[in-house]
């Protein structure tokens, strides 16, 4: 993709044009403003560090979530959900963010949207268990996309 950054440079305003391969899991507008922070668009050291930092963080969080699920620790799950929600939202990883939000809400023993109480702990845990599978898939997808994006040699 030798022309990627060229495109970006020339079409600054048109969101997503420079990043056609990011798919709909990533909010281009949000992600692009991080890319814009890269001093060098070939190296992309800043955004890369952010993104790979996120990978690390997400994987750690998933491990913790699994553990918390095992321990039936809803509060912990909610808090982990909130945590990952923040990071993923910052990168514009919409799907991951939304799933994390659900975990946050289920962890508070609420429904998906966080509006209604759900006193059944088992139900909440099983919901989290289900959504955890989903969020990991969603994460794997964006991870793949992003890794590809960064692995693509920046030729110029």
């Amino acid at each position: 993709m030798p022309s990627r950054h060229e495109e970006e440079r020339s079409e600054e305003g048109s969101v997503g044009d420079g990043l056609p391969d990011l798919g709909d899991s990533i909010d281009a507008l949000t992600f692009e403003q991080i890319l814009e922070m890269d001093d060098d668009e070939d190296e992309r050291e800043f955004s890369k560090s952010i993104v790979f930092g996120f990978f690390e963080q997400a994987e750690e969080t998933f491990v913790k979530m699994d553990k918390a699920l095992e321990d039936r620790d809803l509060a912990e799950l909610s808090s982990l959900g909130h945590f990952l929600k923040g990071s993923s939202a910052t990168l514009g990883l919409t799907k991951v963010k939304e799933s994390c939000e659900k975990i946050q809400h289920y962890g508070q023993q609420k429904d998906e949207a966080g509006t209604t109480d759900e006193p059944d702990e088992d139900l909440c845990l099983s919901r989290i268990k289900a959504i955890l599978v989903v969020v990991k898939e969603e994460y794997a997808e964006v991870e793949k996309v992003l890794k590809k994006f960064y692995a693509t040699p920046a030729a110029s």
């Binding site: 060098d40 050291e45 930092g53 939202a89 949207a113």
Partner: protein
Amino acid sequence: MDKGDMAGSAANNSSDFVSSSWSRSSLFTAPHLIITRRMLEDPSYDAIVRWGEGGESFVVLENEKFTKSILPKHFKHSNFASFVRQLNKYDFHKVRQNNEDNAPSQYGPNAWEFKHPEFQANKKDSLDNIRRKAPAPRKPAQAIDDQYPAQQIDLINSQLMATQQQLQHLSERYQDLAQGHVVLLQQVVQLQKFVKNHDGVMHRVMGFLHSVDAQRRNSRIEGPFGNNAAPGIGSREPLSNDGPVDDHPASPLQQASELLGEISVDSLQNKELEQLSADLQFRNDYSTPPNDHSATMAPPSETSSTHIGYSAGNDLDSMVYPVGHTNGIDPINSEHINNIPYALPPHGMIPVNPMPEMVPEGNANLGRKKGLMEPIWGMNKPRVLLVEDDKMCAKIGSKFLQAFECGVETARDGLEAVNKINNGAGQYDLILMDIIMPNLDGVSATVCIREFRPDIPIVAMTSNIRTDDIDMYFRYGMNDVLPKPFTKEGMLKSLQKHLASFLKGAQFPNSAPMPHPGGFAPQNAPHPPLGLNMAQLSAGQSLKDETSPGKSPATAGSWHSPNQIPGHSPVGHPPGYMQAPMRDNPYPMTPTHPHPQHGYQLPPNQIGQPRGTPQHRRVMSDMSGGPSEEHPDVKRQRMFPPPPPGSQGGFQQ
């Protein structure tokens, strides 16, 4: 009373028709009535107007003739309605027809009979009594006008006073509680530190015991080989000699280890802070006596040195940027950022060199961004404290801020933020504050910071942006909300809004701190450094291992209440300075309300927003359908559970 003079005056006042026969009429008798009486006494009018039967009323028999022929002679008008109106003003009453038994009227169908108890044929003098009721046609109306508002004003005044008193009470109560809250926070922090340190000590002891235990076991194993236990080992045995004789660690040791593992410092502190936040929420239900905190929780202060440090740090004027420091980056900044344990990407593909990023200028590659962002600041660049526990968000936020040419420092939680503000190491011009953070959440941190920096703009940076959340942020002294995930534009807007004095071409380009609204600045100087103790705590000086367990270090004098500072009322400064202006001048209380926290009952956009944030509603509406968030109650209490290992250190610092 000189009747002659009076008569003369009356005559001049009324008309030529008033004769000396009215000598008894005072100046104040209405001319109108005098004339009327005179008309009645003129026998030539009898067919038209005359006294009624018995002389207690008078009757206009021929309305039309009266109006056309008599009225013009005596008055300047020929309007019967006016005549009647005048009479009404003097409390005359028309005698109603149905008052009289059957006959439509004894004077004829068109007759108008008027009556006034003091207006009688045989009582000339009683005219004076009528004027008592209505001295002049217009004055009564005015009197009523005057009286009515006067009463109203009295009423309103008293209500106002009552309301103000109430407000004052509320403010005082609020102050007490806020103070108590801070004190409690400090205590909690203290306790946390203590517990944490204690924990460390316990672990060390455990480690030691384990080693001893291991030696003991070794000695037992070695024993059978005839190697008579060395006296040295034997002498240590009493340390663990109630352990079972097997090859496992002594069971008391195991139990102790388990206990230590269970009672993690993190869970403890979270619970306490959660509780505290909950208390904060319900503080209005409390009825704590004002002096309670200071009485029970404020041991004498011994640490005046910190005050000095504080006041030096708080001296806004002396804290302008170092001369020539125009690139907006303070050495502290990069230094600090290097200290942040950001995990580097695991892949090693990324050049490990954060420094170039820290310097917004002198990097040619910034050209594009620079094009986007024209320099917006004047001579001095604002310095922003970014409080954010998520290192990614912190990193991105810092990056944005640097792109805006702001000096950036970060804090990983509320506690660190409070410490940074408190230490005076850096004077910040704006704080971007995450809400949900470990150790001390953003709202609580704001409350603390507000105690000694009532003026600094604090912008909540959060994804919890439901209306009640936002109301809460404002209520507790925050100035604005920057919804997460934040955008560059949103951040820039917020900066421009709250750092107007730094903008290029601003009126006060050289004033490092925000220009205070009137009355703010003086309060800064004598303000007791409420949060200082935390700095102290955080410096790790508070641990008193030698303190006996029964004696809580929190009350043993290692922290002090700012209330103890001489010259301040026991409940600290806020009630003090609240009361003074309020008593002297009950009205401008709200406008001069210097402390954002006092304004909690005000609309949010008035709180601590002297520069005005008319847009703040817009900000809220800008939040494009923010995800519905956690229940506020839960959220308020929610602290991060054990923070990720990387950020643990924040607590220690």
